[in-house]
Symmetry: C2
Subunit: 415 residues, 2 copies
């Protein structure tokens, strides 16, 4: 089953907000055998919306639409849907009740603009929005379906799982069985991995496809299998996955599409180890990605972001003379930071970063992108210096990944 | 001048990677009077690419394409461009030299797959990629232009600024003068702000448009003016901006589209104040957004992410009995955290967070989304409790914004 996504919103088109709904939808529908054909981002403009729907229905029978339903915008989107599917704008009492209830719950008075959200095209079936005021609208014509959803990610995502996805599955049923397997790989650059897997790719059956998804020092490998016989596909995916494991060994750090911080967290939990971070150039981002994982408080105790040398010395106990002689971006300092934070936070493991994120602060021996990193497990401390490409934000992101990979490798060696 | 963006990549379409190039391009072209007509995300598939180019050229004379040029994918994209614009694949010596040089610089041996990157359609003009191996290709036909760029954000963004944008401006020239003004607004919900500005919007001249861009407790207002007479537009934009300032007063915390952390940083720098953060539920994200700003080391000294109560007590000096009686998510604890970290990091200002990010950890009195926040300036500490909607990541993001807004309001009151 294929579908198209239309994302409506001036703010998205001009790049002041980034669309995350289309990606979320794809991540949740592809495992169910629903493949995204295209994502089109357009302005809050009646003609653009009308044209986009026409284009989308020309290639797929299902169109998922997000955005264009905020209190200051929904008139354009709804009027266009009304024009496309026919009927007239009518007040929907259930939506009105829902809007009233939402406002009562939040304790803010309802105003005229928000009241307008209860108006919907007579040709749609309303799916009540439990977590917001904008109604979700289901349209049908000639066996094709369009679902219009809010742009607020939390509202669309909650209601997709609760109502929209189940109703879509009920309404359609794909006859092709699909299976997906994702593997998280370290130790390789994309081109080197592609060369290593050249023969493996050649021997893959025609109905199994391998995709490379590299990002910041990690490569996700994704096997997609599509076949009419569920047993054939299951057996072959098993076999090909096992073969991939034989070729790449422990360079595969996880089966499934898991964030690096989750992989680290699972490893720490299974080993019964705790972690703390000491961060200079990553400025708290390592702690942030670790604590984005639900339940991370089981193994993550805390972090000291020692942006100033004063904090490095007094809180982490970095030696003043070493700071003066070697500089903050150096092997001894980053190792002392790792030791210091594991002592302060009383943890078995620690990671530390100190580098030049840029754009300023670079020098001839330590240009922008120079990052010293340390990982500590028990009494063992390892450190390395990397020269990371990109602007400030990329250096921070890459350093965050690299220091977590260092910790994983150290844990791997000790198993 | 209008343009279309085509984003190529299975990984983007299935949502394993989020497209940030199209937004970056829009943010950099709109101020130059180049408006994005649409963004289309498609798979690494020859027919899809061919069709997308046709569609895009049907509505705009300029198509900017990103992605589909990685060493494992570029054959599809290049072959399709060759099919669309004619000609044959030829080895480009300059590209080959560049690829060799890039690899030498990174100290990794060049392999066959990467060598293939030097093959380009004979009908394109190559723009040398100074920061990567994939060549940038400029195609022209019937006065229309397509530029194919890599998917790696840093490569596309660097080369857009360095070469592509200047060459586009040279090649085309729009006769319509455009001006943009963005204002960052706090204190209002979107619908309340829309009501407040209803009369203001009514009196706007037909050639000036107001857009609402709300996100996580902040609303960006964007005035767009388009007119053939540069003087008319400049004068009117000035006047309408001044009017907006009169209506909203100091609820406008910044002119221009600035991240909240930059606004906070500029305020601190101008007041000569330093900042530290004590974070529990935000897990380092407040420190992260602050240190994403270049030069933040001038005013940001550090952070203590006190995820465990042990770290709250020993590093931040939170009272053990208060932790036991009131719990970690409470007013006295978050205020002691703010006081503690400003003492430990020796800063004038501090912010602190302690809450239930979820999905676990909620209770009847403190459900998921309950967050206590404190802001400190000198001897004054203010605190508030908020109930933030959304999943874990949204709660973290919203709490991060809200605590920075608290600090801004406190600084505002003291001015």
């Amino acid at each position: 089953m294929e579908y198209s996504t239309i994302v409506i919103g001036d703010e998205l088109l001009i790049g002041q907000v980034t669309d995350t709904n289309s990606g979320w939808i794809a991540r949740h529908l592809t495992p169910l055998g629903w493949d995204p054909k295209s994502v089109k981002v357009i302005a809050d403009n009646a003609d653009e919306i009308f044209k986009a729907i026409d284009e989308a229905f020309a290639t797929t029978d299902v169109v998922l639409m997000t955005g264009g339903l905020g209190p200051t915008k929904d008139d354009i989107t709804k009027a266009t849907l009304c024009r496309y599917f026919g009927g007239e704008m009518v007040l929907n009492e259930d939506v009105k009740k829902n809007v009233d209830a939402q406002f009562k719950r939040r304790g803010i008075p309802m105003n005229r603009l928000t009241a307008g959200q209860a108006m919907v095209p007579s040709t749609c079936r309303v799916i009540q929005n439990d977590v917001g005021t904008a109604p979700i609208m289901w349209f049908e014509r000639d066996g094709k379906v369009l679902v219009s959803m809010p742009g607020v990610p939390q509202e669309t995502q909650t209601m997709m799982e609760r109502s929209v996805i189940p109703q879509l599955l009920k309404h359609f049923h794909s006859d092709l069985d699909l299976e997906y397997r994702t593997f998280v790989v370290i130790d390789y650059a994309e081109s080197a991995l592609a060369e290593k897997l050249e023969d493996y790719e050649k021997q893959l059956p025609s109905y199994i496809h391998l995709a490379y998804l590299p990002k910041h020092g990690i490569i996700r490998l994704r096997l997609t299998g599509a076949h009419h016989d569920a047993n054939v596909i299951k057996a072959n995916m098993e076999q090909q996955s096992a073969q991939l494991h034989r070729i790449l060994g422990n360079s595969i750090i996880a089966d499934g599409d898991k964030p690096l911080a989750l992989i680290v967290g699972e490893r720490l939990r299974s080993l019964g180890l705790t972690l703390s971070t000491a961060e200079s150039c990553t400025g708290g981002n390592v702690a942030h990605v670790i604590t984005e994982i639900a339940g991370s408080s089981d193994y993550f105790m805390g972090s000291v972001v020692s942006y100033s040398n004063d904090v490095k010395q007094r809180v982490l106990g970095v030696d003043e003379t070493i700071l003066a002689t070697c500089g903050a971006v150096s092997q001894p300092v980053v190792e002392q930071m790792a030791n210091g934070v594991s002592h302060v936070c009383r943890t078995h493991c620690a990671v530390a970063t100190s580098g030049v994120a840029g754009p300023g602060g670079g020098s001839k021996d330590k240009p922008v992108g120079t990052v010293w990193m340390a990982a500590k497990v028990g009494d063992i401390v390892v450190s390395q210096c990397m020269h990371l490409p990109g602007e400030r934000c990329q250096v921070i992101e890459r350093a965050t990944n690299q220091v977590l990979i260092m910790l994983l490798k150290l844990l791997r060696e000790m198993e």
